[in-house]
Symmetry: C2
Subunit: 260 residues, 2 copies
């Protein structure tokens, strides 16, 4: 059942409110050497006061304006939904970049309707770039953006955050795809999907993502004309593998290269 378009517009208009509230917290501590906690016993998964305060700010606004909506955020306990709507939040996606002073982190917010991500926001307040994706299109700071219609992977610019993150069995599959592309760039976390949606690159491939890392990206990519699937070509499930393409017509070629 599609949701009412007036309600969709209201919900879409709420995303910048959430972005502004999160940005106030994230920018306050960016490049200010906030204390860093490690969420892992073995390994390093950093979290800062900025992650926590930004998520608190978003949650407070949702609870105030949409008390029946569920909330699933990276840093705090899940709030169950009383109805079909649920929010997925990553207050600072790319905390590693954030603590390194690099402006490639972003605030990710997705709104799910019956588990389907219908709205997504990638907000990069240091750059002043806010990408919002919906079924009827994706905007950058309110202006429509579109992916570009590249006609072959051999001319593609591809991105991934870190090839060392792939599982052993995934690496040769990734390598085949990457070697076919014209250029591969690393780093940049969620911002890679933003430059794909605005037509500057052609492909993003990652794995091991959690729901908070991925759900917001899907409406942004699809609304701009791209596709978001797993490595087998099925619609992205919201976690683990993602293959985002600016031109969905290249999906078969990409899936062939990725087949194990």
């Amino acid at each position: 059942m599609p949701i009412d378009s007036g309600l969709l517009d209201d919900l879409r208009a709420f995303l910048p409110v959430l972005g502004d509230a999160a940005a106030k917290e994230s920018l306050k501590y960016f490049r200010q050497q906030p204390d860093i906690d490690n969420k892992l016993d073995a390994g390093f998964d950093p979290v800062t006061v900025a992650d926590r305060n930004a998520e608190r700010a978003i949650r407070a606004l949702i609870e105030e304006h949409f008390p029946d909506h569920g909330i699933d955020g990276e840093e705090f306990a899940q709030k169950p939904a009383n109805g079909p709507f649920r929010w997925s939040l990553d207050p600072i996606d790319g905390t590693r970049a954030y603590i390194a002073g690099l402006p490639s982190w972003g605030t990710l917010v997705a709104l799910l309707y019956e588990d389907d991500p219908i709205l997504g926001m990638i907000d990069q307040p240091y750059l002043g770039e806010r990408y919002i994706g919906a079924p009827d299109g994706t905007t950058l700071n309110g202006k429509p953006v579109q992916t570009r219609p590249l006609d072959s992977l051999s001319g593609a610019i591809a991105m991934t955050t870190d090839p060392a993150l792939f599982q052993a069995g995934e690496r040769p599959r990734y390598d085949r795809l990457a070697e076919t592309c014209r250029l591969v760039r690393y780093g940049f976390d969620c911002y890679a999907y933003a430059v794909l949606a605005s037509g500057h690159i052609d492909l993003v491939i990652e794995s091991g993502l959690k729901t908070h890392d991925m759900l917001a990206l899907i409406p942004v990519v699809r609304g701009a004309g791209g596709s978001a699937t797993d490595w087998s070509g099925h619609p992205a499930s919201g976690e683990d593998q993602i293959l985002a393409l600016g031109n969905p017509a290249l999906l078969d070629e990409a899936i062939d290269l990725l087949s194990a």
Copy 2:
């Protein structure tokens, strides 16, 4: 022989003039899908009208104001010096990032006095960040910046553009160093040295750099309190290997890890 401080100030004040002229050209084409030429027969080394026009703009200003100075730029023929001063120019370092719409490229300008890089600029006009290094300090948009005094590599944030770029014999040496650090981030080209100089990360390691890629970085890193050497701890020669450290006291520890 140290150069006269009044002359040094005049030359330092000239760097923003060069940065503004280059930025006018680089920003004009950024994210505008300029035509891309490939400088290699095998492989992909992109160059655009923005690289060429930005270098032309810088060269014209140097020739007008300092006709005796030599000019060694990435895109055009060398102009011999009539005296001790020579400029090294990379109008867009990180052209791969530039054509991917990523704001991690930068305009690099170095001034050499008797082959010693005494002034360096890393200019990132999309971010509005201009780093200028000199013997008496490094500034970001005119305000002094300094590296941070991390006391052990085990807490370090390290960066490199792409670990696949290392030579076979270099890779295990790099891996030992990288595994000792707390966190490694990829991508970002010259901008990694900018965040090192401003105290957000602790180490940058690369190899295979050309003179245009490296000379401007050295005064920026050293002026902020860091060290810039090759992988053996000798002062950076201006090409191939570089190891930049925010805290020079960590050099022995890093060199031990890098010893073949």
